[in-house]
Amino acid sequence: MISAGTIHVISTELTVGMFALAGISFLLCVIGKGPEVRESVAHWALLGGLLATPLAIISGFNAAPGDGLDSPLLANKLLLSMTATGLSLGLIIKWKRGAELDRVHAGIGMIATGLIMTTASIGGEFARGETLLFFLPKDLVFLFPKWASVIILILGLILIIKSTIEHRIRSRTSVP
């Protein structure tokens, strides 16, 4: 029988490793150094990290002592990892749609990596009471009221639908 804690360690190492690889590859894209496959590596590593993230979140919930989300650190971990997942998902879909890699795209990739690294660091503080990011106000949780979250959700859905429609129109008009 393997405990949730062990599964969480495996899944977080996978997630953090994949995101770190993606972050470095995006950095190489920005500075124009490294092998030509850096763009593919960045996006495939991002996808790998994305696949491992849900397992890390679920096993993290099960491994945490106590009942549910009883610490601001855990709440911040959840919000940061969901934000990073959203950014990464957007980048991968955009890349698969044929978008060119620009500085903003690569920058967002590095931000997603940074958010996952911060999440992992908070995990270290939660489990062992140690962190390198001692200067961050991790006990502070920005919690929106439900109605604000619903508005954000609707706004996000509108953006996704709009971008999908625009992409389809562009595909039809561009291909000869």
């Binding site: 950014l87 957007g90 620009d102 953006l159 996704i160 971008s163």
Partner: protein
């Protein structure tokens, strides 16, 4: 550039502390000795603690009834975080060694949980710690118990382990008419600050009982008992309060062990559905914002290499511009190879 990077990495490496322990602790949990060898970085590298570790048990331990066991730790000289972790174990084999493996049931640990491994901060002035567990005893017979501690060192270089001797506990079958707490009664182990706590004592073979309480190690104070219930005073500070009952009945009078109640600040709470909804909303919004990001201007593109597909011998399709070939040429070639529509 490479030299500067090497210097930066070297500084970062030198800034890390060389420690084989976890100064922040591992957290209270059910654990085998040395966490199965993984509490500290490498169990084989542990030093032997100079702390004195002694196990104290009640004189009479009755099968199926509650009792307390205390591990006294003196002179551990731990790390700067002052954390000392204590294990209550049923043998020194390092596996299948929790009290539950020998039939003991942990009712309360020193921090108010139900773990056999707990962490407490050793006071700098005295460097003395006592870890007290409330246990329900197993069936009558000889049942060994021992204590072990884990801690770091001031310099941080070595992690230490210390063990007490293995104590054989004689668990006896209680006399039939022994005044006792009923098997269903489980004493509360923790409460929040500012909270009054009323306990209804469930007993067997008891005609009357009285209750007294004390602050940890202080003088006992009598409590009024009404209809089998008594109320402990409100906790104004985080700490430990202890209570015990003096049971009288047909059989010999009994005094229960001191039961500990840990008072703590109310935990942080959040409405989970609200947080989940916010997390999901952020995910969707961020994905949407990235997808809506406008295509970059050509000079902002980061491609440093030419991805234009090779032009076939018959040339690019009629009516196509070179720019269209750069973007859609590969798709054209793929369709051509697959026999699909162009």
């Amino acid at each position: 550039m490479r030299f500067k990077l090497a210097i930066l990495l070297s500084i970062l490496l030198l800034a890390s502390t060389l420690s084989s322990a976890n100064p922040g602790g591992e957290g209270d949990e059910i654990r085998s000795m040395e966490c199965g060898g993984s509490c500290h970085g490498d169990a084989g590298q542990n030093g032997i603690s100079s702390a004195s570790i002694e196990l104290e048990t009640s004189t009479d331990v009755w099968a199926g009834l509650l009792t307390t066991v205390t591990i006294h730790v003196n002179g551990s000289d731990p790390s700067s975080s002052r954390l000392v972790g204590a294990f209550l174990l049923s043998n020194d084999q390092g596996a299948k060694d929790t009290p539950a493996h020998d039939g003991w049931q942990i009712i309360a640990d020193p921090n108010g949980g139900v773990s056999n491994y707990v962490e407490l901060e050793s006071p700098r002035a005295t460097d003395e710690l006592s870890f007290t567990w409330t246990l329900r005893a197993p069936a009558a017979g000889q049942h060994p118990l021992m204590g072990a501690v884990h801690h770091g060192s001031e310099s941080g270089g070595v992690a230490y382990i210390g063990k007490s001797s293995l104590n054989q506990i004689s668990v006896m079958e209680p006399p039939e008419n022994l005044p006792r707490l009923s098997a269903e009664f489980s004493p509360p182990a923790k409460r929040d600050l500012g909270e009054e706590l009323t306990i209804t004592l469930q007993t067997e073979n008891v005609d009357s009982f009285s209750v007294e309480y004390r602050l940890e190690g202080g003088t006992p104070i009598d409590l009024a008992v009404t209809d089998g219930k008594f109320t402990l005073p409100i906790a104004v500070n985080a700490g430990v309060i202890e209570w015990r009952a003096l049971l009288e009945g047909e059989g010999p009078d009994q005094t229960t062990p001191w039961f500990r109640i840990v008072s703590q600040e109310p935990g942080w709470q959040v409405e989970e559905p609200t947080l989940m909804l916010q997390g999901f909303a952020l995910l969707i919004l961020c994905a949407g914002l990235v997808l809506m990001q406008r295509p970059a201007s050509p000079e902002d593109e980061l491609k440093q290499y030419d991805q234009t597909p090779l032009i076939p011998t018959e040339g690019i399709p009629v009516g196509w511009t070179m720019e269209q070939w750069q973007h859609f040429g590969q798709q054209y070639l793929d369709d051509l190879a697959g026999g699909g529509p162009i």
